[in-house]
Symmetry: D4
Subunit: 167 residues, 8 copies
Amino acid sequence: MTENRVAVVMGSDSDLPLAEKATDVLKAFGIAYEARVLSAHRSPEAVWEFAVSAEGSGFAVIISIAGGAAALSGVIASATRLPVIAVPAPTGMAGGLDSLLSSVQMPSGVPVLSTGTNSGGPANAAYAAARILALSDAGLAEALKRHRAEMAGKVADKDAAVREKLA
Amino acid sequence: MTENRVAVVMGSDSDLPLAEKATDVLKAFGIAYEARVLSAHRSPEAVWEFAVSAEGSGFAVIISIAGGAAALSGVIASATRLPVIAVPAPTGMAGGLDSLLSSVQMPSGVPVLSTGTNSGGPANAAYAAARILALSDAGLAEALKRHRAEMAGKVADKDAAVREKLA
Amino acid sequence: MTENRVAVVMGSDSDLPLAEKATDVLKAFGIAYEARVLSAHRSPEAVWEFAVSAEGSGFAVIISIAGGAAALSGVIASATRLPVIAVPAPTGMAGGLDSLLSSVQMPSGVPVLSTGTNSGGPANAAYAAARILALSDAGLAEALKRHRAEMAGKVADKDAAVREKLA
Amino acid sequence: MTENRVAVVMGSDSDLPLAEKATDVLKAFGIAYEARVLSAHRSPEAVWEFAVSAEGSGFAVIISIAGGAAALSGVIASATRLPVIAVPAPTGMAGGLDSLLSSVQMPSGVPVLSTGTNSGGPANAAYAAARILALSDAGLAEALKRHRAEMAGKVADKDAAVREKLA
Amino acid sequence: MTENRVAVVMGSDSDLPLAEKATDVLKAFGIAYEARVLSAHRSPEAVWEFAVSAEGSGFAVIISIAGGAAALSGVIASATRLPVIAVPAPTGMAGGLDSLLSSVQMPSGVPVLSTGTNSGGPANAAYAAARILALSDAGLAEALKRHRAEMAGKVADKDAAVREKLA
Amino acid sequence: MTENRVAVVMGSDSDLPLAEKATDVLKAFGIAYEARVLSAHRSPEAVWEFAVSAEGSGFAVIISIAGGAAALSGVIASATRLPVIAVPAPTGMAGGLDSLLSSVQMPSGVPVLSTGTNSGGPANAAYAAARILALSDAGLAEALKRHRAEMAGKVADKDAAVREKLA
Amino acid sequence: MTENRVAVVMGSDSDLPLAEKATDVLKAFGIAYEARVLSAHRSPEAVWEFAVSAEGSGFAVIISIAGGAAALSGVIASATRLPVIAVPAPTGMAGGLDSLLSSVQMPSGVPVLSTGTNSGGPANAAYAAARILALSDAGLAEALKRHRAEMAGKVADKDAAVREKLA
Amino acid sequence: MTENRVAVVMGSDSDLPLAEKATDVLKAFGIAYEARVLSAHRSPEAVWEFAVSAEGSGFAVIISIAGGAAALSGVIASATRLPVIAVPAPTGMAGGLDSLLSSVQMPSGVPVLSTGTNSGGPANAAYAAARILALSDAGLAEALKRHRAEMAGKVADKDAAVREKLA
């Protein structure tokens, strides 16, 4: 396995803020990644070239961020045997219903795994990638357990603060 | 121009009944067509091969029928300079909202032209293709005008029948 | 400038920013156009007069921009044999679901071809008009191919920039 | 005022079952009506001819039944100063959301008054027409009051039956 | 008939801006009106008292403005034989889908006539009231015809301006 | 049987199958109830009479079943200080979105508590009533705990069966 | 019964403004409460610990505020026999449709009672809790009646102001 | 690692037909699995016990099938560091919008990966599990590549048949 473990592909550089939420999580877990701008509709050859060579390039998981008629995730999933995690970008159409439905409603045989259109989506794509990679990385598995405990701890701190504040 | 003027592409052979509604109209106007089953997700290479060679194959208009995460129309539109008309297939998701949104919400520069998810959609894709071809085919233009008059005539007949029936 | 012009009809002058996105694209391709404000509900006679004479006026394609109960596209399509491309304007109703549904759900025989409610919609109506006109205009066909390559090139530039930025 | 008081216009003869629910109510109140099949998209000239002459033909209220991209009500409302009551036909799109939104979202100045897409819609269009006509028809006003009491009586009967049945 | 011809009822004084759009139109047509704040849920007795006495108070048409679980229109319609026109207020739920559906989906026998949730809704309620009153008021009928011509004239002016601007 | 009874009010006798799902649960817990058919729109006086006297009649909780423009729950809640539990009936509008939204979107101060539009809704209204009554009924509290254990036991049985079946 | 009567649980401290709307109402009625931050997904053990001990801790009613995939209410309801009132937080997804549907669509046997996603939701959860507690608290029952009269009085004041303002 | 590699958890035995679509795919790939019926709401202790011990039990991936307020996937994801794939079951609410939204809209830190509500969803959960397991299983990786080629071959066969049929 090479150093590049997760590909973070966005359909447009306007998705950069979402991509950074994902790469921040990957960085925190010490997971190598590469970020790309590839458009299923505007640069389809580049998407295809990326997708068919993703496995050979040493990627294990692909995170795909796109909005609207979000074909990116499905197109990549059609060209590789790697797991593809979609982040449907929020849009003006009911908050991203277009992005979500065009990501998940895939035909049998070509799976796309989608997170939500909410603010947690991009980070969760990275957390899910970490969960997948942790299947064969004991250190990452430990890091995920620590993260789980830290989350619970932070909620407990907020709980204590709010109990006092609203008492 | 060759004999094949309109390509009617469906994402699955379960879309055959929709495709036949379109080809029935094309036949009625004497427009040559070729029907294909090509899946953006299950046979992406075949879609790409079709789309990049569509212009050279003598096609002028492409009708693309797909449901769910309907990437087919957008993928074809990304590979050709021909006009692409989408027929979003009705589905269990609010009647085809997934098909419709994944067909129309395209990024600037890669146009997909969509009909509805209702029963008139497939035929209207063919009527629209006829309107496009009629721009350089006077006989077809005349046929479209006759069709318009015939439609109005049929409604008038129904009007007469209903006026009597509900009097 | 060819003889075949494109009419860009908007239902209200509040749609002007959308119309300009379309005319900017038409200008870039050197396609002659005429912009109109015609309301299916407030000035129906003017719509009708425009639509029935559109063919005789030398128009080849009609782009129709309207929001809400967007009857404009369907009414024009009912009066001409020219292809009609709808741009459903975004609204407060789930981002333009009203505009979209009232544009696409046409009865068999009277086709309206719709773009999306997203920001790419108005430009895509113009790109689609260019694709239609290019069927009989080799220069325009070449321009569309150049545009396709330029789009891919711009995405590639952004890709390079993001790869560096998020490395 | 002539005998024809209410026009019941349907966009297609497939709307006949809905129209009959409306005419049954009109008959029960002794309100004269005329039923028409007129399609905003397939026979626009007939719609226009009907609408501009509706006032002169002695109609006081127009009930307009249409589904999908339901332009019929708005087009009629644009051509007459008579009150227009829309019945948005149920469809496969979330039960008629397309019909409903394309009926109600009218621009300021051209009012369409809509009933629901549910089974009560067509009858309610007729009851509403009766309420409007009753403003200058004391007998009809009395009949509406009796109808109100009868409805309450029927519910009371069902109440008694259910109280016993579920006791 | 007394001077009070149209009642404009709002469910909350937060609906005042919507109510003023309606009363502005009524004023322009010289139609007498009375504006009320009555809440189906917070002051139900006041709503009932208003509704059952509306006819006796000389009202001919009731405009009812409410948002969310908009029971106001239906409750009023259940208590009077006068025509009730609902204005579903826009909300955060998909732009007012809650207001719209709770206004229109009435059971057979108790009609509510709804305008849209868009910016034209409140004014259109007033225009519709004017259309109803004009059935027995020749002056108002003339005023509505003038208004129709003025609307078309204004669109024509905008058309001329835009044709020049976008030439 | 306690003194505190539950009223199960339905807006139409077509809601009877839903009501029986609720009364079956109440019976199983030995909770006294009374079933009523009362329509907010068709028999508003009867609704009001019921609601204002509900407390005096010995009711503790009111279950209100209605579909479409489901004003029943809100109207009852406006007339009593008792807790009101709505069961939004499933409809053709996206499965009951109209019923649900017209039940929950209440103004501050007049609470309606809603179950879902799914098949569990009516029974859950009864279970919720039982939970409320159990606050002052130790026997009922015990019965609820037994029910909870029984549910888990039934799922465990199904788990065992499925584990074997799909092994 | 201890002093802690109502638990106000929020899934995140970003829900604090909603929680305060609820606690303000509880304070106004003199109802003891405790506010907690407990996340069904981030601190599930804390949620469980809270829920199984809620009855023993002296709570009578649990208000649960959460947005998005709002599992909090259902999880708590699965662990206690106390009534659980959900406040679905508004979100970017059509205004909170995700929160609402994930709160109400519970399986038979595990009731969650939901308020709306609108601004009245959090306060109404508290008003509903008050109604439940008032079943065994005559003073609270009186306070609720006073509150009802005060609401009607405030609307009457606004009515008087608006009648004058829009006269 | 034990033989049990994938857990297929369903919230109710009514989800059995969906589960079998997933296990059929797993069987075809020779992937060991265990099927369970565990309800987040009816048997929460069993869900928790399963989820916290899933890693130790030798599971690598968890497929979770649930409908309505589908808390199952999120609850499991909160208790394990394994990847969790949700299958939102289709429902009467717009085809499963409730299941989908309650599956994907998770808070940052607790990822759920969702397939669609369409007929391809359950099988795709299994295909996605296979993709994840194939990251460390060369034989499975090869099988996935063969499957991809077989899918394309089947579409090609259908293409040939349809080309002939519709010629």
